[in-house]
Assembly symmetry: C2
Amino acid sequence: MKYYLGLDVGGTNFVAGIIDENYKIIEKAHIPAGAGRDIKEIIADMVKVSLEVVHKAGMQISDFTSWGIGMPSFVNPETNLLVHANCFGWKNVPIYSYLEPYIPLPIYIENDANCAALGETLAGGARGHENVLMLTLGTGLGGGIILNHKIYAGADMMGAELGHTKLVYNGEQCTCGQYGCAEAYCSATALIRQAKEGLKRNPDSFMAKLCDGDISRLEAKTVFEAMEQGDILAKQVIEQYIDYLSCAISSFVVIFRPEIIILGGGVANAGEILRKPLQERLLVNTYAGDEIGVPEIRLAECGNDAGLIGAAMLEKYGMDRNKKQGVEE
Amino acid sequence: MKYYLGLDVGGTNFVAGIIDENYKIIEKAHIPAGAGRDIKEIIADMVKVSLEVVHKAGMQISDFTSWGIGMPSFVNPETNLLVHANCFGWKNVPIYSYLEPYIPLPIYIENDANCAALGETLAGGARGHENVLMLTLGTGLGGGIILNHKIYAGADMMGAELGHTKLVYNGEQCTCGQYGCAEAYCSATALIRQAKEGLKRNPDSFMAKLCDGDISRLEAKTVFEAMEQGDILAKQVIEQYIDYLSCAISSFVVIFRPEIIILGGGVANAGEILRKPLQERLLVNTYAGDEIGVPEIRLAECGNDAGLIGAAMLEKYGMDRNKKQGVEE
């Protein structure tokens, strides 16, 4: 049995794990992210938690052939710099140079949304499929594309940024500075904003009661809960949100025609009350949908483990970054 | 020297050609499309013009290993039916069965926009590149994607329909029936519509004079000509058009991060007065453009030959449709 070492670097926790050939996690270790600290401290913790999981499993670094890392960022293959990681306030960090001295393995770094898509393809909702689109509906809108069973991240490996395609020309400003990005309409943050805008017009909505009148506490799940209780505003907000999301997905469908679409992230926890109407709207809102159909939308199955599983398997199913790997240089 | 047989099926002409290994056209034949005729007559003409070019070159069908065809449609690989070809009013046509009896070669059929992208990559503006995006700004907005030197048309080979991604949520109705498609804002047809809308507000524009007051005669080039003559409305219309187009392209850039973007079709004949400001707006309107830049936009170089060259080379650089090829079945 071959084993794979992965690390999922999130804004809250760093989770290291060892994955077997069947994509099962056999050991895990975690450490708080502690954002805002010095880069060197964060790098030290990425190494520490990875060594810890190897130790816990009674294994050694030499038992592995690579170290796969998922991060909320991407590496510029021209410069080998991590372009930015907003959650740490990083910009243009020589990540390979920082990590290489500590763990003598080829390092594979990939965007966390791409890792999640790979994890769900290998072990989750898209098992058995080779062409998969995954959207993570969280603070942002993460996108991951699997083509022929491998991560596709664009010709220069900095693409697949599905959340920053334009959905509403000249629309709401996105956190990225651009206007009308899909993320600005389809993330959990966007759903909350849309609900709050509705509450201004209709402050008596059940949504307000569910957060005890303190609208700053409104979450994505509050809107779904209110809808299930029969609240009309919540229903309208979610119908509008689903229409936005179906249009965003329709663009990815006409480009990629994936076999399966996976929904992950906090909003996807709503389950069938999101998935089913979204599937229906996708058919209506997609070019030639009436003639050739649209792919099935499924809910993610691996939860927070998807990114870790994908990171560990980057050596095998990541993009071909060999020329850019630290140790081969 | 190996030679390749191609056929470009357009709404006006069918052009057959023989291409050498260096992607040079060594012989050509054409026949009027004669839209509106019976399918069998059109099929007969597709065969006739292809046999004619082989004859003109003093060659035989057995000198070729495939027959590559570009059409304004796509084949559903599940059913082997040509889904639709609007210019002929066709829908679900068993194209392989119709063609196979006449020319005993493996047949490769691909969307014409994809063929044009391949032709420009092999012999035109994107020579030497392996990851290319081409947009054809004509009656519609055709899109072609080259990944790792091959056509990419989606997992089921019915994708890469870039013109039908959403640009303006809930916007103008597209000829496809959907709302807000990129095609409805970025095609030559859309530019003409935008100019006509402007003329309603400002009938004294030089654009009206250029068509002798008969606005139905307004073409895309009229708008560019009026702008060059200093017409303010034409300048506004083109600036708005370029902004729409840059936003559409920005979505493809954040997904694919191609090495080069090629512009073809009638609107691209405007040349630098389109290309240069479009390049500038693309940088402004693309996510992370300020950090990692945007690809270079170039004008197509092969003109009407791009589709023919690409069609002829489908055997080598098309998607892997072997399982669906007629003669192997």
